[in-house]
Every structure is written in structure tokens, then in C-alpha cells.
Symmetry: C2
Amino acid sequence: MSQTSEDRADALFHALSDRTRRDILRRVLAGEHSVSALAAKYDMSFAAVQKHVAVLEKAGLLTKRRSGREQLASGDVDAVRSVTSMLDELEAVWRGRIDRIDALLGADPDTTSPTAPPSPTPTPKEK
Amino acid sequence: MSQTSEDRADALFHALSDRTRRDILRRVLAGEHSVSALAAKYDMSFAAVQKHVAVLEKAGLLTKRRSGREQLASGDVDAVRSVTSMLDELEAVWRGRIDRIDALLGADPDTTSPTAPPSPTPTPKEK
DNA sequence: ACGACATACAACCAAACGGTTGTATGTTGT
DNA sequence: ACAACATACAACCGTTTGGTTGTATGTCGT
């Protein structure tokens, strides 16, 4: 029921734990790519790549947009940033200042990030 | 055989993809804990927790140090930072600043042209 | 209308994962 | 010496993962 931040973290880190998916993510962060354009880059079946794209999409790391018969995928940099902030939280624990573990989901105002755009809360989704 | 950076990324993200392991990592980043002290915190067998610790150790996220009959684990914040820098690299790709990353991508100048901002933003980077 | 293309999805399979119990080995305190 | 503790590790088991092939549906160009 409750979409805990841990559920989301599970999905994000799991999605990032495969090198093909990380590579796909790099490409779609650089620009839109259709699923078949992506599939052409890898030595595996189209269906396999399609599954990888689906994993990334469910984790919120990319979004798809239909254009005719193609499905164009683009990376969501905010999701990447949300992972970064989870790691920053770990680093904060290391420094000894355990702010509030449950503040990990968002609303973390005092983030000393050099390029901090005002888009904290990642896309809420269900699983 | 030297493990490639992708192998290392696989291990790091996989290690972080389990919530119990993330919780263990938080604890050992805050301070040293013996394996049995960690195991006492979770509703699972000692062996299960021991396996989680081993996964974190193989990924380089924690190190163990023997003290008598106990094995004291502490988190390695540098490993956490290395993950952060991987994500920063992804964000750099998103910004269009593909420094030497296209070499990692395989250097296929094919579908790369969509959103290419010619903005030479002198944002500082660290890795 | 039709064929080639783009995607979606089900069924299947081997391997890896996350857990268990059991056993072995070393360490500490009495 | 010995019992309790701390750890390591093997064997096993059900589920998930990452891949395959096959089939179905929708879209574009001619």
C-alpha cells in the first residue's frame, strides 16, 4: 500500500544495477531514443531491451512518449538526482549528523549541492 | 583479471538495491558494529545478515576488522562517494557535457544530436 | 489493402537472489 | 578444559531476474 521511500529506493538502485540499463539511461539522458533505436545498439533481442526500458520506466528513471508508431524514451534527471540525495543522506550519517532518516523522501532543504534546482520531490508512482 | 568499472558499478548498485543492506550501511557508516550486533537488529537469521554484510564488503562499501572473536564492520564513505560521482556523470550526460563519456558509450556518433545545448556553462565538476 | 516496421506481452528457461538450517572453527571467560 | 559466544560456510529452497522465442496489435508507406 504505502509507497515507502524504501520501495522507491529498491526500484531505483535495482534499475541502476544492470550495466545495460545504465547504458540505456545514459543514452536517453542525452536525448530521446525510440525503443528499437536503443535495441539496435545491444547484442540481445528487442524484447530484452524492451524489458530493460520497462524496468527503468517503472523506477521513474525514464519516461516514454508515443510518436506515431514509435515510443520515444527520455531520461528523467530528477530521478537521478533523487538517488544522489539518498547517497548524500548516507554521507550525512557518516558525518555524524543523522538529520532524520525518514526525511529522505524529500523536503530536504539544507542540501549543500552546487547545482540544486528547486525540484525536490520525485514523481510519485505506484508499484 | 581487473574488474572493469562497470563490474564495480554493478556490485555497488546491486549492494544498494536491498533495503536491509542499505540499513546496515547506515549503521556502519555511523560507527563500527559487529556482525552479531547488526544481526540482532533484524528479523532474520544471523547467516542472512552475514551474507548481506558480505555483499556490502565485496562491493567495497564496508570493511571488516577483527577484534578478538568479533568482526567489526565500518562503512567506507569513499565508496558511497564513488557512487555519487557515477550519478553526477549521468547528470553531466544529461546536461550535454559529454566529456570523455562517449568513449565509454562506444563512440557511435549516430543518433546523437537531439538536445545539444551549445551553452558552455563552466559548472565545476569533481570526481 | 497490404507488407514492413514498432511495440507489447505471454510463456518458458537457466542462473542469481534472499532466505533458511546445519555444521565447523576459532575465541573468550570461568 | 569447557561451555557459551562469534563467525564462516555449505547445502538447500522458493522467487526473481535476465534472457529467449512466439504471437498479437497498431502504424506507416506505397
